[in-house]
């Protein structure tokens, strides 16, 4: 371990304990002993010192503020503090989630979840925050930052340059599923969640706006892509925009008719879509029905038989 890395470790631990009167010298001495004389692994040494100091100074675990981490180095089952920018908010699909989406810093991007029970003020897209005492969790190989009631979030007056991890992508596949929360939807003017009977889960009776949206799954037989199609894309495929969708719903006195119609026209069709992928979510910017020259494709496949 080089001296710089060692000093950073000391600094990180010092940050956590300086308000309790712990000195840097004290940390340095203990850390040197464990790392260099007893050859204890870094992570073990760090944890031992933190736990030791906590006991000596009688500090409850939840009172500690972990040192600032970078998104590229977060590890599951740890709690950390992060400075990050909210890149994208997604609509939560469960009442136990208050907000979810993506945050990023100069090293990377990660998913985050704010539990409804955490009772935090709402984050806004594009703003930067200090997330203190958040928990890192991993599910199916995907890490996420969990904001619990023990966490603290505060907006900061800093601009964070997020490392771009958006990938432009073009894929061909069959649209095999359109989810129920698609079609002509009413969303809350404050938070953008879908609203049932004029009532937002979070904000109660609210003013709403109509949106036309499809959440679906494109499947090429090898991989799946979760898609979001907006009004522009839907209209380019079906000729049905917000105006036409509203008219259809009014004629039938039922918004559900719009979803049925979209399913009828799009499910099972091969689409060629272009968009930006963030993790597995593809925000589609343009789409067309995929109509290859069949004869050419047959010839290609026949060549593969011979190969």
């Amino acid at each position: 371990m080089d001296e710089n890395r060692f000093q950073r470790m000391v600094e990180d631990i010092y940050e956590m304990f300086k308000s309790y009167g712990v000195t840097k010298k004290e940390i340095e001495t203990r850390l040197r002993l464990l790392l260099f004389e007893f050859k204890v692994p870094e992570e073990e040494a760090r944890r031992t010192i933190i736990n030791g100091l906590r006991k000596n100074y009688n500090i409850p675990r939840v009172d500690l503020k972990p040192a600032l981490a970078k998104i590229s180095e977060i590890e599951p089952n740890k709690w950390v503090s992060l400075k990050a920018k909210v890149i994208q908010l997604w609509e939560p699909n469960s009442p136990i989630i208050s907000q979810t989406g993506l945050i990023g810093d100069e090293t990377g991007i990660t998913r985050f979840v704010v539990w409804a029970k955490a009772n935090k003020t709402r984050l806004e897209e594009g703003k930067c925050y200090l997330f203190e005492k958040v928990v890192i969790d991993e599910f199916m190989g995907i890490k996420s930052v969990k904001v619990t009631s023990a966490s603290e979030i505060r907006e900061i007056d800093e601009q964070i340059e997020v490392k771009e991890e958006l990938r432009e992508l073009e894929v061909v596949g069959a649209l095999v599923s359109i989810q129920q929360n698609s079609g002509l939807l009413q969303v809350c003017k404050i938070c953008g969640r879908t609203v049932k009977a004029g009532t937002c889960m979070e904000h109660g009776k609210v003013e709403t706006t109509d949106v036309l949206r499809i959440r679906g799954v494109l499947d090429d037989g090898e991989k799946i892509y979760d898609l979001i199609l907006d009004e522009k894309v839907i209209s380019s495929l079906t000729g049905m925009g917000l105006k036409e969708a509203r008219k259809l719903a009014e004629e039938h006195l039922d918004r559900g008719v719009v979803l049925l119609e979209l399913k009828k026209r799009l499910l099972g069709k091969y689409l060629k879509v272009k968009g930006e992928i963030r993790f597995r979510m593809l925000t589609v910017t343009s789409a067309e029905f995929y109509r290859p020259k069949i004869l050419e494709e047959v010839e290609k496949a026949l060549k593969e038989v011979e190969a």
Binding site: A174, I224, G268, Y270, A301
Partner: protein, 223 residues
């Protein structure tokens, strides 16, 4: 939106291969899905099929459970639609055979005494078209060829051990499907050309001159 379970890919397989399946794999842990293992080593939990709906019969009167048969170039898939697949049930009411349909379905093996019966349970069914069906055949032919190659290389030990698949039989089925498609396309193309020619002649008759003469080099003229 966070997916709490991994969605299974809808695989492409011809009915000939699917219907020869006899074994399941997976389902070990609580969360692991069950897959039908086909003779060419495909592990499928979900399928995407575009074919011709040939039969649709209610299993018992007023049971609202439908037995369907969907054909592809190599045979046909047997399927059941019931109230557990509300989307598919809604659609099937309005679709009558024969009709080209696109289907996303769960792949199942029904165990009956010493017999196993491969079948599908559609999640959604929609009226489709010839172009989509043609492309599905090509896509499925290619996927089948990839599996044949893997078996030839000895990559899929389990499938080889369980089935000793006769790969020539499957290769032949793929070639036949592609050749038929090619012939159909050639006929279609001829018809299209014929129709175009006829249309042109009609137009020329109406106009009273040959359309080809319309292409005139302006440099031959003076302003």
């Amino acid at each position: 939106m966070i997916r709490t379970t991994k969605r299974e890919v809808a695989r492409r397989v011809f009915s000939k291969e699917f219907n020869a399946s006899k074994f399941k794999v997976g389902g070990e842990g609580e969360k692991e899905a069950v897959y039908v293992l086909t003779p060419l080593g495909l592990r499928c939990n979900r399928l995407f099929i575009v074919g011709v709906l040939l039969e649709k019969d209610e299993v018992r009167p007023d049971s609202d459970m439908w037995r369907i048969r969907i054909s592809d170039p190599t045979g046909s898939f047997l399927g059941f639609v019931s109230k557990f697949q509300p989307d598919a049930l809604d659609s099937i009411a309005d679709i009558n055979p024969p009709e080209i349909v696109a289907v996303t379905a769960k792949a199942k093996l029904l165990q009956r005494d010493d017999r196993v019966l491969p079948l599908i349970r559609p999640e959604n069914i929609n009226i489709s078209d010839f172009e989509t069906r043609d492309y599905w055949i090509i896509e499925t032919a290619r996927a089948t060829l990839r599996r044949i190659k893997a078996i030839e290389k000895g990559d899929d030990k389990l499938a080889i051990e369980k089935y000793h698949p006769n790969i020539e039989e499957y290769r032949k089925a793929v070639i036949e499907a592609l050749m038929r498609l090619k012939e159909e396309q050639a006929i279609l193309e001829e018809e299209r050309l014929e129709e175009k020619k006829e249309r042109k002649e009609e137009e020329e008759k109406d106009l009273g001159f040959k359309l080809d003469e319309e292409i005139i080099d302006l440099s031959d003229f003076e302003i």
